[in-house]
C-alpha cells in the first residue's frame, strides 16, 4: 500500500510538527508513505470565498502531485472534504475523480482502512476534543448532535486507545469554533466571539489541552488562548496519537 501524504499549506508553513507526527504515526503503523514535494494547497481558501473559478491551477497541480497512490491521507478534515467535493481537472477528470475517491482524513484512515485497534501512546492530561465541522458534518467522522441517529466518533475511538488520557465533556459538543476560512477576518467580530465561547467551554470543564483534527480551528482557538494569556495548549490529534510528546 502506497500512501501519498497531503500536508495542507498552513500546516506545512506554521505547524510542521503536526505533519511530522502524522508521518511518524503512519510509518509506525507500517504504511509506506510518500510526500510529494511539489504540493501546495487544496484550493479551499479561494473556493469558499466564491472564487472556485480561480482554482484550476491549484487543482491541476494537486492532481499532478497525487495521481497513482492507493490512498491520499491528510491531517485535516476540512481540506480533505474540499478535495472530495470539488477537485476538478478539465484535462484529466478521471484522475481527479480517482483522487476524490481515495483521499482520507487521518482519523478515518486509521479506523476504516488500517482498522487500528491499539496504539503505543500515553497522554496523562485532561483533554477537550474540538469537533471540527467539515470533518464531522462533511466526512461523518462522528455523529452530529442535530440528527436522531446512533452516536459514534472515529477520533473519539482513537483517543480511547491512548493511555491515561482524560477527556472532558463539553456543554456544546459540536458547535463551530468560528474559524471559517476567510470568515475569520471578514467577519472578525463574530469569528472571535465564536472562538472565545468555544474555548470557554473547554476551560470551564478543566481541559489542560484542546485537541482536534483540524489545525485551522486549533490555530484560531490558540490565538484566542494566547491573547487571554491562558496556559491551556492546543495539539493536533496526530501529535497525541503519535505518542512522542
Amino acid at each position: 500500500m502506497k500512501v501519498g501524504l497531503f500536508i495542507p499549506c498552513y500546516i506545512d508553513q506554521f505547524y510542521p510538527q503536526v505533519a511530522v507526527a502524522t508521518l511518524q504515526l503512519l510509518e509506525k503503523l507500517g504504511v509506506d508513505v510518500d510526500y510529494p514535494l511539489q504540493q501546495t494547497c487544496c484550493g479551499q481558501p479561494m473556493a469558499n470565498s466564491g472564487f472556485s473559478h480561480y482554482t484550476q491551477g491549484c487543482d491541476s497541480l494537486f492532481v499532478k502531485n497525487f495521481t497513482g497512490y492507493d490512498y491520499i491521507v491528510a491531517p485535516s478534515g476540512s481540506c480533505v472534504l474540499h478535495i472530495k467535493d470539488h477537485l476538478h481537472d478539465d484535462k484529466n477528470q478521471a484522475a481527479a475523480d480517482q483522487i476524490r475517491s481515495r483521499i482520507y482524513e487521518l482519523c478515518e484512515f486509521l479506523t476504516d482502512v488500517l482498522q487500528v485497534k491499539e496504539l503505543q501512546a500515553s497522554f496523562p492530561h485532561k483533554v477537550g476534543f474540538h469537533v471540527s465541522c467539515h470533518g464531522q458534518r462533511g466526512l461523518h467522522l462522528s455523529q452530529m448532535s442535530e440528527l436522531n441517529a446512533e452516536d459514534f466518533s472515529k477520533p473519539g475511538f482513537l483517543l480511547s486507545l491512548v493511555k491515561d488520557i482524560e477527556l472532558v465533556q463539553l456543554n456544546r459538543k459540536d458547535e463551530c469554533c468560528g474559524f471559517g476560512g476567510t470568515f475569520c477576518v471578514s467577519e472578525e467580530a463574530v469569528s472571535v466571539k465564536m472562538g472565545k465561547d468555544r474555548v470557554q467551554d473547554h476551560l470551564e470543564h478543566g481541559a489542560d489541552y484542546i485537541t482536534g483534527g483540524d489545525v485551522s480551528c486549533l490555530m484560531h482557538m490558540e490565538g484566542i488562548l494566547k491573547r487571554q494569556k491562558s496556559g491551556v495548549k492546543v495539539l493536533h490529534i496526530a501529535e497525541i496519537l503519535n505518542g512522542q510528546l
Binding site: 506545512d12 505533519a19 514535494l37 504540493q39 479561494m46 472564487f51 480561480y54 472571535v192 472562538g195 490555530m219
Partner: protein, 464 residues
C-alpha cells in the same frame, strides 16, 4: 403604524460588529436561542421515525415543486368551489395592491393581522400605513417589534432580540403599563387586553398560510396564541396571503408537516392552534392571495430551487452560531439567518451579496432542516455566483487572484512561505498590527517555525 423609521444596516459584518459591542447581551441572545435548539433536539429525539419524517417531507415538497403549476391550479379550483376568492400576484407590489383594493372596497380603516412572513417580505405594513390604513399585528412578538418600529429579527420569534425590561418600557409607553414593570405574565396580560379591543373592533383580518391543500382548497394556519383565529372569526373579511410554495398535495400530508413544524421550531409536539380554514362563514368574505414574488425565478435555479421547500420553522436560525452572535437585524432582509441568506440573493443579488458570506459553512443548518434543504451547500454556491458577478470587494478579488497564482506554483509558494515566516520571526510585532491584520485584533498569530515541513522532510526523510 409604519416601520419606516428603522434603517436596516446594509453589511452583515458591520452590523454584527455593532451587535457585538454589548457582549453580555450577545451571550444572553446566544443562550436564549441555544435553549430552543436544545428543546428541538429533545423533541426530535423522542420520535424514532424523525429522520424518516424529514425525508418524507422533503420528498413531498420535491413533488410539489416539480408539479407546482398543477397543484396551484387544483388548489384554485377547489378553493373557488368552496367560496373563497382567489387572487394571483406576480410580485410584492401586486400583492399589496390586491390587499388594499379589498380593504378599500369595504371602506375599512383599521385591521388586524396575524403572523405572516410573506407580508413582511412584501412590506405590506408600510404600504398600508402610507395609504392611511391602521394595521395591528396581533402576534405578541410581532406587536412588540411593531411598537418598537422595527422589523422582526426572527421568523418565529420576532422580538427574540428584546429583553423583557425593554418590552416593559415599550408597553409602558404605548399600553400604559406600570413604569419599570417587566414581569412577563403582567405584560402579556396587558397585551391581551390591548389586542382584545383590536380584535373586537376590526372588520378585516389578514392571516398568513402555513399549508394550502390542493385537493381540498383549504388552508392551515399555525399559531401558539390563537390570534389568527380571533382575528378571522371576528372579522367580516378574511384575507390569507401565501407564497406559492406553501402548497401541499393532500390533507394527509399534514400528518408529516405538522409533526415536523413545531418540533423543529420550538420543541413543542405541535403548535397550540392548527386552524383549518375551508370556506367563508355565511356572513363572511374570504380571500386568498397567491404570491410569486421571485419564487418562479428561484424555482428555475438548479442549485437553489429546493430552498422553496422551506416551511419557515426557524430551526436553522436557532442553531446558526453566526446568527446567535450577530442578531437577526444584521441580515437586513425580511427572513434572517441561513435560510434568509440563500433566499435573499434571489431577490436582489447586489444588495444581499454579503449574506451568503455570513456563515462558516458549518452545516448545522442543513442538519436541523425538517425538509432537508442543503442550506450550507447553497451558501457556498451563492458565493461562487456572487463573486463571478463581481459583487465582492475589489481588494478581495485581487487578493484571491494573487493567492490562486501562488498556490498554483510550488516555487512561488515556497518563496512566499519562507519570506513570510522569516518576517514573522524577525518582526513578530508587525503581523500583530491590528489595523492591518484583522486576525490579530483579538487573536495572537501562530509562532513562525524556522523551517517548513517540506524543509524538514528533505533534511530528514527524503530517499535519494
Amino acid at each position: 403604524m409604519s416601520s419606516s423609521t428603522y434603517i436596516a444596516p446594509t453589511d452583515h459584518a458591520k452590523a454584527a460588529d455593532k451587535f457585538m459591542e454589548d457582549e453580555e447581551r450577545v451571550n444572553w441572545h446566544d443562550k436564549a436561542l441555544w435553549f430552543i435548539r436544545e428543546k428541538r433536539d429533545v423533541a426530535s429525539k423522542q420520535l424514532p421515525e424523525w429522520e424518516l419524517l424529514r425525508e418524507t417531507a422533503s420528498q413531498i415538497k420535491q413533488n410539489v415543486l416539480a408539479n407546482l403549476d398543477t397543484y396551484l391550479e387544483q388548489f384554485e379550483q377547489n378553493a373557488k368551489q368552496n367560496g373563497i376568492t382567489v387572487h394571483w400576484a406576480a410580485d410584492a407590489a401586486e400583492h399589496n395592491r390586491i390587499v388594499l383594493d379589498i380593504i378599500n372596497k369595504h371602506g375599512i380603516q383599521k385591521l388586524v393581522k396575524s403572523k405572516s412572513m410573506l407580508t413582511e417580505e412584501c412590506h405590506l405594513n408600510d404600504y398600508l400605513a402610507d395609504n392611511g390604513i391602521d394595521v395591528v399585528d396581533t402576534d405578541l412578538g410581532e406587536r412588540v417589534v411593531q411598537l418598537a418600529q422595527e422589523p422582526p429579527s426572527h421568523i418565529v420569534l420576532p422580538c427574540i432580540h428584546k429583553r423583557k425590561e425593554e418590552v416593559g418600557e415599550l408597553f409602558h409607553k404605548h399600553l400604559g403599563t406600570e413604569k419599570g414593570a417587566s414581569d412577563p405574565a403582567y405584560l402579556t396580560e396587558a397585551a391581551r387586553q390591548h389586542l382584545r379591543e383590536k380584535f373586537l373592533t376590526s372588520d378585516l383580518a389578514i392571516t398568513g398560510v402555513n399549508f394550502a391543500i390542493a385537493e381540498t382548497g383549504g388552508f392551515v394556519v399555525c399559531t401558539n396564541e390563537g390570534n389568527a383565529d380571533m382575528g378571522a372569526h371576528l372579522a367580516k373579511v378574511h384575507i390569507a396571503c401565501m407564497g406559492i410554495e406553501k402548497i401541499i398535495p393532500k390533507a394527509e400530508n399534514l400528518s408529516v408537516f405538522l409533526r415536523l413544524l413545531a418540533r423543529s421550531a420550538t420543541g413543542q409536539p405541535i403548535t397550540t392552534y392548527s386552524s383549518h380554514f375551508h370556506r367563508p362563514r355565511p356572513d363572511q368574505e374570504m380571500h386568498i392571495v397567491l404570491v410569486d414574488n421571485g419564487r418562479s425565478i428561484q424555482l428555475g435555479r438548479k442549485d437553489f430551487y429546493n430552498s422553496l421547500k422551506c416551511i419557515r420553522c426557524g430551526a436553522c436560525i436557532n442553531t446558526c452560531p453566526v446568527y446567535r452572535r450577530s442578531g437577526g437585524h444584521s441580515y437586513h432582509y425580511a427572513i434572517s439567518g441561513p435560510i434568509g441568506a440563500i433566499l435573499a440573493p434571489n431577490m436582489d443579488m447586489k444588495k444581499n451579496a454579503d449574506l451568503p458570506f455570513a456563515s462558516t459553512l458549518c452545516g448545522s443548518c442543513t442538519n436541523v432542516c425538517p425538509v432537508k434543504i442543503d442550506i450550507h451547500n447553497q451558501l457556498y454556491q451563492w458565493r461562487q455566483i456572487i463573486a463571478k458577478e463581481g459583487y465582492v470587494p475589489a481588494t478581495k478579488a485581487q487578493g484571491m487572484k494573487v493567492m490562486a497564482n501562488v498556490m498554483a506554483n510550488p516555487t512561488l509558494f515556497r518563496v512566499a512561505g519562507k519570506s513570510g515566516r522569516f518576517m514573522m520571526r524577525l518582526a513578530p510585532g508587525l503581523a500583530s498590527i491590528k489595523a492591518v491584520n484583522p486576525w490579530a485584533k483579538q487573536r495572537d498569530m501562530p509562532e513562525a517555525p524556522k523551517e517548513s515541513f517540506r524543509d524538514w522532510y528533505i533534511k530528514n526523510k527524503k530517499k535519494s
